[in-house]
Symmetry: C2
Subunit: 340 residues, 2 copies
Amino acid sequence: MKLTIKDIAEASGVSKATVSRVLNNSNAVSEETRKKVLDVIKETNFRPSSLARSLSLQKSHLIGIILPDLSNPVFSKIIAGAESYIRNKDYSLLITATDFDIDMKIKHINIMKDKGVDGLILVTDHGSKEFHNTLMDFEKPIIMIGSDSSVLHIPSIKIDNYKASQDAVQYLVNLGHKHIGMIRGPLSDYHSGLQRYLGFRDTLGYYGYYDENLVREGWYTFDDGYSAMESLLEAKYEITAVFCASDLLAIGAIKCCIENGVKVPDDISFIGFDDVDLSRMYNPSLTTIRQPFEEQGDLAMRLMIEMIENKYIIKKDDEDKFSTSMKYQLIERESTKRIK
Amino acid sequence: MKLTIKDIAEASGVSKATVSRVLNNSNAVSEETRKKVLDVIKETNFRPSSLARSLSLQKSHLIGIILPDLSNPVFSKIIAGAESYIRNKDYSLLITATDFDIDMKIKHINIMKDKGVDGLILVTDHGSKEFHNTLMDFEKPIIMIGSDSSVLHIPSIKIDNYKASQDAVQYLVNLGHKHIGMIRGPLSDYHSGLQRYLGFRDTLGYYGYYDENLVREGWYTFDDGYSAMESLLEAKYEITAVFCASDLLAIGAIKCCIENGVKVPDDISFIGFDDVDLSRMYNPSLTTIRQPFEEQGDLAMRLMIEMIENKYIIKKDDEDKFSTSMKYQLIERESTKRIK
DNA sequence: GTGAAAGCGCTAACAT
DNA sequence: ATGTTAGCGCTTTCAC
């Protein structure tokens, strides 16, 4: 039978209020009664109901996190970071995936609200008018990871994709490459799609190397990388290096090369983006831009707790105070090679 | 300002009870009042508090899931399956990782209980006396994935690791291999460690091929696979194939071979276990035993909902009714080769 | 220092 | 068909 605070009160001969005080370490209770109550609690193995406490306190100690896909290593790393930070704090994680469905996202933001989460972390990239409105009505702290929030006045955590992409391309140029292709993400995807592409285009443009024919597009997956590369190979352009908007695209492309007798990096160099675990394990291991996913999750959660505990309300003009641009890093591995 | 059922009642000129009836589609309410109330709800954008409802109903519509590690593809696939099934149902997921820490696990089982979850899914392999006791006291449905529950009388979902391992080894034997090594998991890990090893040992023993010297051990990771293989290569035994207790072990081992000039599969064939995404992408792609992770998560959640909705209490002797042994499958890829 | 009582937002008898 | 009331398990004034 489920015990309640009332049972404990009766068993220890005090009132519910006193038991509650003991439970919450209120100092307004004598050592004697405290001990008495504590004994009964220990004996009976009593644990107070979070549900009741949440209702009374109007604070659920729940934090919601909504992301596109749980099985994608990129996202699961982010959650792992967030979860790991929160694990020993007094909060729990409510997780939902949306499968990149914007309506699903809106629906679950509302569900999270119903559940009374104290804050919401959004891992996402696209919005819509209705989406924005839903967020504006949320009335609890929100943090976005990997998304531009300037329109929304919501603090966000991200990296500078444009600059990272420039660095990647510059690196290839420095290795002597001139005929450089790209497998980009969808341009509708502002950060990982558009920005990474612009960094590529502008950098190559600067050297006069940019060639639109060498650009393909895919949805960050292995299979899309594979077929984009097939198309690139069929076209028989002179091409010595390819920059890919994600590691999976790069690995798909590499696999395609190998199956077609094209050597990596001897014939073509590849550089990816993300540095998922897979990349260091691959054969050849993949040169890539490392994004600190776990750290992003960790930081997001850190800020979230801070905002919750300090009851910080974000005002329209200071989301920057909480927004962070994190450091990325180019990791050199076996998939890139200097050419003469 | 947060609206409550009381506000809606006043605004529509009825009582809280009636609003509640409308909210819950009770038919004992006239079309007229229903419409009136519904209008107010729509207008005000009112959404009832799950927290209050949970407390009143003694049902949280929360399902807890505890697993070792969120960033491991094996586990994240399982969650993805579970989450995906529940997404459009009226339940939410509370997730915690334990980092293989048994005390952490116990602690969070209790937290889940405090939070009032309606059921608990455990993805895990090891237990302890205290762990078992905690589970026995849980008083809500529990389902385990990948773990033997016969001792605990808890329904579980798993595959027959012993038999799968036999199949893998038999496959290598059929390809003509005699000198077969294994990189196993820790034997303390009953299913993935011990059972897979026993299947290997017994099958090779049957043919008189078993050689203890060719066995190494690791913790299912790339790095452990790499170093186990280093040790195997250094020993310079005659060896033409290696069975690994996980794909990551296999891939680590393959990477080690390649870096040491040993050709895969020409010199040594490899077979893994799990079929994580990585395996089909790898170069060479990995022959392996496919475990249906997403399906396991999906099924677990399906059973969980069923148990919850039917208020099914598992009796000591019929956990079998809910326990399932799922099908695995050997997937042939590039890492294995017939020898003469 | 401790208890009585009201309240968190909802549901469910029980009346009417 | 609808309203009144008690209750879910806890916290928190307000008295004493």
